[in-house]
Amino acid sequence: MAHAGTLDIKNLSKQYRVNDAALPVLDGISLSIRSGEFVSIVGTSGCGKSTLLRLLIGLEGDYKGEILLDGQHIVGTSLDRGIVFQEHRLFPWLNVEQNIAVGVLNAPGGDGTKKKAVQEHIALVGLKGFEAAYPHQLSGGMSQRVAIARALVNRPDVLLLDEPFGALDAMTRGHLQQELERIWRAEGTTAILVTHDVEEAVYLGDRVVVMQPLPGRIRRIVDVPLARPRDRSAAAFATIKDDVMSEFIATPQSALSDR
């Protein structure tokens, strides 16, 4: 079930204007993502990782550089690129099934196919039986699963995840990381995850992109050549995790200095 979905980011820069002064948020980001790859992006607050994601999904524009999806420049939002936000952002007046159906509202295809896709994805995220439940009746973890189903139901080429488990408790987070991994493997979509949790990044990513703040730049890219599903207690896992962590435990001065 491989998709196209190669993403090329070339020398991406963005700045915000605050009271006539330019605030650089991203500076010269270049990244190539293969089809079906899972890339994790880690960084502290202010490193621009969320801005990067918003540029990729098309909710923000006005940047320098190029973003190419399968060789085409991206323009605004598109059903080819799905996103899961940190808040589930479900519509409170729709039940689970209807919320997921929002994802295929404007997708091509007949009603029958769409209905089938919605049902498949409800099962995929493990919420069979909850089709008629409303968001206020669901836990945080379940709501996020609905959001994931909604993002995947129209089979996008790229799935973006903006700190999707940040608002959940630690145990739910761990469980959902596993679920996400399983779902991703089933769908084969290219995925980009932004997180400040290093363990999550290493657990899920084929590569971990470490970003540094002010302005946001790519500091280093760490490969994670471990077999899936990953064992968090394995020595190899810990080594890679420590390797990534070492980028952050450095003193503030060295973190800000140019490399």
Binding site: L59, T77, F85, E87, R89, P92, W93, L105, N106
Partner: protein
């Protein structure tokens, strides 16, 4: 008197009945003993008698129907206009800047002050009353719609953008459902205002036509206090029924979203 602690799970608080029942008893006692001018403070018995007569009079029911019809028609017109206006002001920053100040200022003119002018333009008939009732409904509904539409979160608007909602889809699948609770509140308030406006219009635009208000006016002019009281009770009852219906609908609209009124 009963204590607050009780072993039964379903406890009806009877203390609320003490005051009205006492007053009722007092009323009856005073009139029976002849201590008050029974022309003014009429005995409850007489009121019941007149009530029975009125309720069996077809003209009364016709009048009530007229009043309620006026109320509902005016309400519907005012509600539709209010939702449209409020949504427009809430959705478009520029509409709010252009129309908003005028709208909020006009709101300050006591509604009843409009009646003489309306009667100059539309006479004392149905049209004037309908226009007045619609106007009374328009303001609370528009305010509710305004707040509801304004309150649609950026987070949800971004989701709509990601899934490429068309303008029509945006309006009917996001904005209106999201604003529904506040619109419902506005509609409830509008219903109350509409009923007050109906009765007020019937008082002030009296044309000896039909309606509950006219019944009261008749009572007043013939110094039939019993009739006035019966009319007042009828007005209160209809008002309460309308309020209950509106509250039910509002609770239903809120419940689906898991919010409490």
């Amino acid at each position: 008197m009963s204590t607050t602690s009780s072993t039964t799970t379903c406890r009806i608080d009877l203390r609320g009945w003490v005051l009205p029942l006492t007053l009722l008893a007092l009323w009856w006692a005073l009139t029976a003993a002849g201590w008050v001018n029974t022309k003014l403070i009429v005995p409850p018995g007489n009121v019941l008698h007149v009530a029975a007569t009125t309720l069996s009079d077809a003209a009364f029911w016709q009048g009530t129907l007229f009043s309620v019809t006026r109320d509902v028609s005016g309400f519907i017109v005012g509600a539709l206009g209010g939702v449209a206006l409020g949504s427009l002001l809430g959705a478009s920053r520029w509409a709010d800047r252009l129309i908003g100040p005028s709208f909020h200022t006009m709101r300050q003119i006591s509604l009843f002050a409009w009646l003489p002018l309306l009667s100059t333009w539309f006479g004392y008939g149905e049209l004037a009353k309908l226009v007045f009732i619609s106007l009374s409904t328009l303001y609370p509904v528009a305010l509710g719609a305004f707040e509801g539409v304004r309150g649609v979160t950026r987070a949800h608007l971004e989701v709509a953008k990601v899934y490429r909602f068309t303008r029509v889809q945006l309006l009917f699948r996001l904005i209106l459902p999201a604003a529904a609770p506040q619109i419902a509140t506005g509609l409830t308030l509008g219903l109350v205002c509409a009923w007050v406006a109906t009765i007020g219009a019937e008082f002030l635009l009296a044309n000896w036509g039909n309606g509950l208000g006219n019944i009261i006016i008749k009572g007043r002019s013939t110094f039939n206090v019993e009739l006035i009281i019966v009319g007042m009770l009828a007005i209160g009852l209809v008002g309460t029924v309308l309020n209950r219906i509106a509250a039910r609908l509002e609770a239903h609209a809120l419940r689906r979203q898991g919010r409490r009124a």
